[in-house]
């Protein structure tokens, strides 16, 4: 009997030992541009440090395709992927499939990240994922054209921006017929939800659904924000702006055909590239205020550990390493990925590579989260209803006040038996 116990004990010890020694963790990360390269390099550094190995799972480029694939894997409770790269609006949707990192990652380490991003990753008190890099809406402008038309600084309010855009557009269109004052993401998709949330919040109209899950969109300030945006279409923005995504807007701005653009930080590195017609002529400013505040929608990606993973301890260690300050610094310097750790915005190497990181720190710290937390699995529906309502106002099918009233009814319908 004693012998049996001893053998069992020994086998268990060997098994536990071998598991701790050599574990292969599978990491799903994006493959857009430098993303895959940086992801592999970071994973290799962790592997060298801990003696484990990492297998990279290449995800599709399009966010929607990626979500579909992940949902299939998770619904099948597959243990193939241990660490997932998650969009900032997914935690509410996928929370049930991820390990609660609260307590598993030291509180001090979590608190080093921006509060808003940590909040976006927390669903019902559960920390679903660790922030990896962040995104926030920015106003890009042409420094040369602002000087040419007698402006010294970027606009502070939307109204100011509209006046400047109109003046520059009128002047430039004399020689360039396709010149536009302001380009942004007006196509009916997730990008429009981001843009429109910025307008509504900057006017003081709330965040569509508040933290408690109450629908707040039906108010005069939100209606005014949408009406203001509708007044830009065919005035300072081309009629086709309502069919543009990020890349269409960047294409026009980067070929020198627009004075202002709303876009994410990624457009900076590309706009300063050698094939860019506006290299060295770009300025970046916070998005204008609508009277209440400056508001930028929070974007970005996180790392979460699947509950179906067989190597959770190693997976958590990988997440902690990749989301840690050393790795985020390398990614910021080499790939201009915005860190989620506040202290890195004071790091001289990071600031040298990306000068606007320092001047726009408060844009990133005060970024507004889309209501994916309170609306949980119904966020996609809420976002579709919102972008459709905004799209109707932009296309002149509806006025702001009527649109937010109807949207409020639609959201009640979506909320139905509860979020």
């Amino acid at each position: 009997m004693k012998k049996v116990i001893a053998i069992i004990g020994l086998t268990a010890a060997i098994a536990a030992n071998s598991q701790a020694a050599a574990v292969t963790v599978t990491l799903a990360c994006g493959a857009v541009g430098q993303e895959l390269e940086l992801c592999k390099a970071g994973a290799d550094r962790w592997a060298a440090k801990t003696g484990n190995s990492v297998k990279i799972f290449e995800s599709p480029n399009l966010t929607n395709d990626r979500l579909g694939l992940y949902q299939q894997q998770l619904a099948a409770k597959s243990s193939d992927i241990d660490v997932y790269q998650l969009d900032v609006v997914w935690p509410g949707l996928l929370a049930q499939h991820f390990v609660d990192l609260k307590g598993k990652v030291p509180a001090a380490e979590v608190n080093a990240h921006f509060k808003g991003i940590v909040a976006a990753n927390t669903v019902n008190g559960k920390l679903v994922a660790m922030p990896w890099f962040t995104d926030a809406g920015l106003l890009y402008y042409r420094t040369d054209l602002l000087t040419k038309y007698g402006y010294k600084t970027a606009p502070k309010t939307w109204a100011e921006m509209a006046v400047m855009a109109k003046k520059i557009q009128t002047g430039e269109q004399k020689t360039n017929k396709s010149f536009a004052g302001f380009v942004w993401q007006g196509k009916n998709y997730e990008g429009l939800t981001c843009d429109a949330l910025e307008w509504v919040v900057s006017f003081g109209g709330g965040t569509i659904v508040d933290d408690k899950g109450t629908v707040t969109i039906n108010n005069a300030k939100a209606a005014a924000a949408l009406d203001a945006a509708a007044s830009w279409v065919k005035n300072i923005s081309p009629a086709g702006v309502t069919t543009y995504g990020e890349e269409e807007a960047r294409g026009i701005f980067q070929s020198g055909n627009a004075a202002f653009m709303r876009n994410w930080p990624y457009a900076w590195a590309l706009g300063q590239g050698d094939d860019s017609k506006v290299k060295g002529k770009i300025g970046v400013a916070p998005l204008p205020s609508g009277g209440a505040r400056n508001a930028a929608t929070l974007g970005g990606w996180q790392l979460g550990v699947s509950t179906y993973s067989k190597n959770q301890a190693a997976a958590i260690s990988l997440v902690r390493y990749l989301a840690g300050p050393d790795e985020q610094k390398i990614r910021a310097v080499e790939g201009a990925y915005n860190p989620t750790i506040q202290a890195l915005y004071k790091d001289s190497a990071v600031l040298k590579a990306n000068p606007f990181f320092g001047s726009l720190l408060n844009v990133f710290t005060s970024a507004v989260a889309r209501p994916s937390g309170p609306t949980k699995s119904k966020y996609n529906q809420v976002s579709q209803a919102f972008s459709t309502a905004v799209s109707d106002v932009l296309n002149g099918k509806s006025k702001g006040a009527a649109a937010v009233a109807k949207l409020s009814t639609d959201l009640a319908r979506i909320k139905g038996r509860g979020w």
Binding site: N64, G68, Q71, L74, A75, L93, L94, Q96, H97, S178, K187, N188, Y189, P238, A239, G240, V241, T242, T243, I252, N257, S377, K378, N380, Q381, Q384, S387, T388, S391, N395, K397, A412, R413, G416, R417
Partner: protein
């Protein structure tokens, strides 16, 4: 009564025995096919009908609540309408799909007929033209849809900038539906022409010679001879194209994006509920509605088809 009947049915019983044996054999031979159909078509259909009566999430189908017909029609005590049949967006999608189907199939039939009549007549280079006209049909729909989306672009598109001087046709779903119909007509007219051409070639030439002798004009020949004789081929082509058009999805999804596709096509609406919103129950219910709508239209077509030919 029973005792009287026994000798009379004795003979048929023996014959029935042979028939029964043959029937059994037939069943055995058909069994593999029946099982295959039950597995690949019957089971998914059963699951779809099953889930349409539940509120369930795609990520976690095991956690579900029974709703009965609640996915189709349900009004809460607060007057909030939850069924998709109460959603104006669904009816908008149905309306747009019907408009798309009727207009595109009509135009394709008319143009297809004209093209078929042209390539049916003898002229130099006919074989080349018959092949060339199939090019739009051979291009994958996703590719041609993207190509047309570029042409419709308001800032650099051939049509959007060149012809219309910077109008964004695809921006508004009301105007976009006509732009989409144009793409479908461009793409599938050649297919229609091919089907009609096949019908035309089976018509006897001596009949036309006789008509020429009798002095019938070409116009009369077309309306009195070609069209009635072509009817079977034409109706088959119509059924095919209508079914295809009712299921349309790829053109909308590529040219308008998935959110707007949901308000312009029935299948787009179903996809959005099922995939984007993860509503397994609602999505299944919508799929059943699409199935029923298409089935009703087919039944109407087929009955009309029979009535005309009896």
């Amino acid at each position: 009564m029973t005792t009287n009947a026994t000798p009379e049915i004795a003979a048929p019983v023996r014959r029935r025995g042979i028939e029964a044996a043959r029937a059994r054999q037939a069943v055995l031979l058909l069994l593999p096919t029946l099982i295959a159909i039950a597995l690949v078509a019957g089971y998914p259909l059963y699951r779809t009908i099953f889930f349409s009566m539940f509120e369930a999430n795609l990520t976690n189908p095991d956690q579900r609540t029974f709703l009965g017909l609640g996915n189709f029609w349900f009004t809460t005590s607060d007057g909030v309408e939850l069924g998709f049949l109460q959603d104006p967006k669904w009816w908008g999608a149905v309306k747009n799909t019907m408009l798309f189907t009727v207009v595109s199939v009509f135009l394709e039939t008319v143009f297809g007929m004209i093209i078929a009549l042209v390539v049916n007549s003898a002229f130099k280079g006919r074989a080349f033209l018959r092949t060339a006209m199939l090019v739009p049909w051979a291009i994958p729909t996703v590719v041609s849809a993207q190509m047309w989306a570029y042409m419709y672009n308001d800032s650099f598109g051939l049509i959007g900038r060149g012809l219309l001087g910077g109008q964004a046709l695809l921006a508004n779903t009301d105007s976009a539906i006509w732009a989409l119909i144009a793409v479908d007509v461009w793409k599938t007219t050649s297919f229609m022409a091919l089907l009609i051409l096949a019908g035309l070639q089976s018509l006897p030439t001596d009949m036309y010679e006789a008509a020429d002798m009798d002095g019938a004009t070409k116009w009369t020949q077309f309306w009195r001879m070609t069209l009635p004789l072509l009817r079977p081929a034409l109706l088959v082509a119509l059924v095919f194209r209508s079914l295809d058009a009712l299921r349309v999805f790829d053109i909308m999804s590529v040219m308008l994006g998935n959110v707007n596709a949901a308000s312009t096509s029935m299948t787009g609406y179903a996809r959005q509920a099922l995939i984007d919103n993860q509503l397994l129950g609602m999505g299944s219910a919508v799929s059943i509605a699409v199935f029923v709508i298409i089935m009703v239209i087919v039944v109407v077509y087929v009955t009309a088809f029979r009535v005309k030919f009896d």
